[in-house]
């Protein structure tokens, strides 16, 4: 297997980027593909911007270079915008529609960022916007937004649907398994066509 595919997952500390990384990594193990990852731990994650690098098919180091990610998955629209420079030309950004306004905006009286403004600033990027919050609630829990987002992004991944779904099953807490399977499938249905 010499397919190399670099995925960057970004969000805010507490949104579940680590679980997303675990699901993608587990899917690689199921498929027998080497994988490397890097993520944010410690104080750096307290409500701040966080990122998980997942390098599918890589046997090198864990870091993705700016301008070379094959896919960017954002759990927060503003964080997707912040990390856009990681994408290689023409690679897709799959992002949640919602955003949390950083406290720094109020503290420094900056203009409050809004969905429409960010989406128009992202013109020129291959964009797939997902109503992760709405879908997760319909699947049974707003906490499943990260799995919804993985489902939506799954069509771009060089990993089989079966391996990803099995990885979701193995990775999430047992009592939330069927909820998360549903979230994954609903996310996949809501995803964009590659």
């Amino acid at each position: 297997m010499n397919c190399r595919f670099d995925v960057l997952v970004v969000g805010i500390g507490g949104q579940g980027t680590v679980l997303a990384s675990n699901i993608l990594g587990e899917a690689c193990v199921i498929e027998g593909i080497p994988v490397r990852g890097a993520e944010t731990h410690g104080m750096a994650q307290r409500g701040g911007s966080v990122e998980s690098h997942i390098r599918i098919g890589s046997t090198f180091g864990p870091l993705i270079s700016p301008g070379s990610a094959d896919l960017l998955i954002a759990f927060d629209l503003l964080e997707g915008f912040r990390a856009r420079h990681f994408l290689r030309d023409g690679a897709p950004l799959v992002t949640s529609r919602s955003l949390v306004v950083p406290t720094s905006v109020y503290a420094r009286s900056l203009p409050v960022p809004e969905e429409s403004g960010i989406i128009s600033a992202l013109m020129g990027t291959r964009l797939c916007v997902v109503d992760a919050a709405g879908i997760a609630s319909r699947a049974g829990s707003p906490l499943a937004q990260n799995v919804v987002m993985l489902g939506a992004a799954s069509v771009y991944l060089p990993l089989s649907y079966e391996a990803l779904l099995e990885a979701v099953r193995r990775t999430v807490p047992e009592k939330t398994r069927s909820l998360n399977e549903k979230a994954f499938e609903m996310g996949r249905d809501a995803g964009c066509n590659p």
């Binding site: 490397r36 990852g37 731990h41 104080m43 307290r46 856009r84 420079h85 720094s104 503290a107």
Partner: protein, 589 residues
């Protein structure tokens, strides 16, 4: 044999169980904490496991276990090794019985640290072997083998993964966990274990005589290796090796260093087969200095020549630039990335309902024109609130503060320190401040847990690392026994009462201790503590933004009015701060 996708620290923990390690201790510190955290929550933890109160205590415990023949692991972050340096330096003289591995996790780029020191230099200083993994798999394999290396050399071994190993993930091949633990026995030998001058002089000589054998052993074990491909060579080590492998063009030789000390003759014969050498290593020029000593007429590029920086962490992109600047690579491999977009910063912040925010708010109100020495913990984020003026190392809030209190600045000194940090190395500072008559206020931010590094229990929590009940130590009793006459306890969530306690302290002299006690909001949530959230009465809200200035992430400002989001954890402090009484507890109809 099993292949799993694991965090570096989880793989390291697993490797220790494959040995198996008999005795585990350490003090939490990013990026090292998950090793003990993984081991301690295992349903069958195997050997003995403790969170120690600081790194010196931890290492001395581990040395004790090793002298009884047990295999001991002691974990800490790089700066923890400063605290443990005293036992480290002399344990190299005395040597070990059971394998002793000291994991000192380095943090290039200081992602979560106060400096970027390099533990390899400590290993060189102490003259003990040092292992420096370049990947998660190698970290696993090195940890598994390090105990045998320690027993073969009869020395402690420093294992030095960096953040990008500890907090990287990878598919890893794991071995079987073993359960045959050793029983300890201490065989007395005063000439080894009592370092009076007559003994230590001989021990020092013996340590020096061991060195050539260690260098050869590390080559035999295959930690250091090379491939000759041309007349130019890159020498690298640790995580940087993984970046070099990604971008190194064909036809350039590669040497990877995974263990120290490096054998001179072996290194020298590699250098002499090349016309140019580039050394790429993060932080201190440990490899580079030795390469320069041995290079003769072969030009060496690296930190000294300005091709590679002395600080920060590397990446494939950074290594590409080093190779280009030294003429080892002709053109870019990675596309020239676009400039990042201008986006408002989202730095880490104190949680909604965090007691540190309320405490810092109160400190600013009662001690407005003061100096605020602080310490290491979540509350260092009080920097954003203007109540953190200094942070240097664990426990230094009280001591920097007492130094300032004796410096006649004319300003009150109000220092803050967390419960775990106070127990780690704040007590001696308090004792000293009281003994020498400092005039200062010490606020112990007691949230009952070591929160920042991942909620490890400590002596105030009431539990040990493995969840065994342990009587919570009384901070009040400790402070009083240090001689402090003013010791008051209050919760910063009861903000009005807390302000009164601060006022009472302001009106006294000497060392005044306030214990600001309120459990961490995350611990509370995990324990199922529920408080009703608060809401803003938009009719009554005047849009004065007093609550916004408080800085709680659960409060947003929309259409000139405050609104409380679902992040609210119900601490209620904003309701007491609001001058219009517009914030109240939500009442469900």
């Amino acid at each position: 044999m099993e292949r799993r996708y694991l965090l570096g620290n989880e793989a390291i923990a697993h490797a220790a169980r494959e040995v198996p390690v008999d005795f585990v201790c350490g003090y939490p510190g990013t990026p090292s904490s998950e090793v003990v955290d993984t081991l301690r929550v295992h349903p069958d933890p195997g050997g003995y496991i403790e969170w120690s109160v600081n790194e010196k205590v931890a290492l001395e415990n581990a040395i004790g276990a090793s002298w009884c023949g047990l295999r001991a692991l002691c974990t800490m972050k790089h700066v923890g090794l400063n605290v443990a340096a005293d036992p480290l330096m002399t344990s190299a003289y005395t040597g070990v019985r059971g394998g002793l591995v000291i994991m000192s996790a380095d943090d290039p780029f200081a992602h979560s640290s106060q400096n970027e020191q390099d533990s390899r230099v400590y290993a060189q200083f102490a003259r003990v072997p040092c292992l420096d993994p370049s990947s998660v798999q190698e970290a696993h394999d090195m940890m598994r083998d390090a105990f045998a290396l320690s027993e073969d050399t009869a020395l402690p071994v420093i294992f030095r993964p960096t953040t990008r190993v500890c907090h990287s993930k990878s598919d890893v091949v794991l071995g079987e966990m073993k359960t045959e633990h050793r029983a300890g026995a201490f065989e007395k030998d005063a000439r080894q274990f009592v370092v009076i001058p007559a003994h230590t002089r001989l021990l020092h000589k013996a340590l020096n005589e061991k060195q050539p054998g260690i260098r050869r052993l590390l080559i035999e074990k295959g930690y250091n290796h090379f491939e000759i491909k041309g007349k130019k060579a890159v020498i690298t080590g640790g995580i940087a090796a993984s970046y070099v492998r990604e971008v190194l063009p064909e036809g350039i030789s590669l040497m990877v260093i995974g263990a120290y000390p490096i054998d001179d003759e072996w290194l020298s014969s590699f250098i002499s087969r090349h016309k140019e050498v580039l050394v790429i290593e993060e932080l201190a020029p440990v490899i580079e200095v030795q390469v320069r000593e041995l290079s003769g007429t072969v030009p060496v590029y690296g930190k000294k020549t300005g091709h590679v920086p002395f600080e920060g962490e590397f990446s494939p992109l950074a290594v590409e630039k080093f190779l280009i600047s030294a003429g080892f690579l002709e053109k870019n491999i990675f596309p020239e990335p676009r400039q990042p977009d201008e986006v408002p910063m989202r730095p880490p912040i104190l949680c909604a309902g965090c007691m540190h925010r309320s405490a810092m708010y109160a400190i600013r109100r009662i001690f407005p024109d003061s100096v605020y020495p602080s310490d290491i913990g979540c509350y260092t984020l009080g920097l954003q609130m203007g109540t953190v003026d200094t942070t240097i190392c664990m426990g230094a809030s009280i001591t920097i503060g007492s130094g300032m209190a004796h410096s006649n600045t004319g300003k009150p000194v109000v220092c803050t320190i967390g419960d775990s940090t106070f127990l780690h190395s704040g007590i001696t500072g308090l004792l000293n401040a009281v003994y020498n008559g400092a005039d200062m206020v010490v606020i112990i931010l007691d949230n009952r847990v070591t929160a920042m590094t991942g909620h490890q229990p400590n002596p105030v929590t009431g539990l040990t690392a493995t969840g065994i009940g342990s009587p919570p130590v009384s901070l009040e009793a400790i402070c009083r026994s240090c001689g402090a006459a003013f010791v008051e306890t209050a919760s910063p969530h009861a903000i009005t009462q807390f302000l009164e306690v601060l006022k009472a302290a302001r009106d006294k002299t000497g060392v005044r201790v306030i214990i600001a006690r309120q459990p961490c909001v995350i611990s509370d949530r995990r324990a199922g503590v529920k408080r009703k959230p608060y809401i803003v009465d938009t009719e009554a809200c005047t849009g004065c933004a007093a609550c916004i200035r408080f800085g709680c992430p659960a409060i947003v400002f929309e259409e000139e009015k405050a609104r409380i989001t679902d992040l609210c954890s119900g601490c209620g402090v904003c309701a007491e701060i609001c001058p219009s009484g517009a914030i109240r507890k939500e009442v469900r109809k």
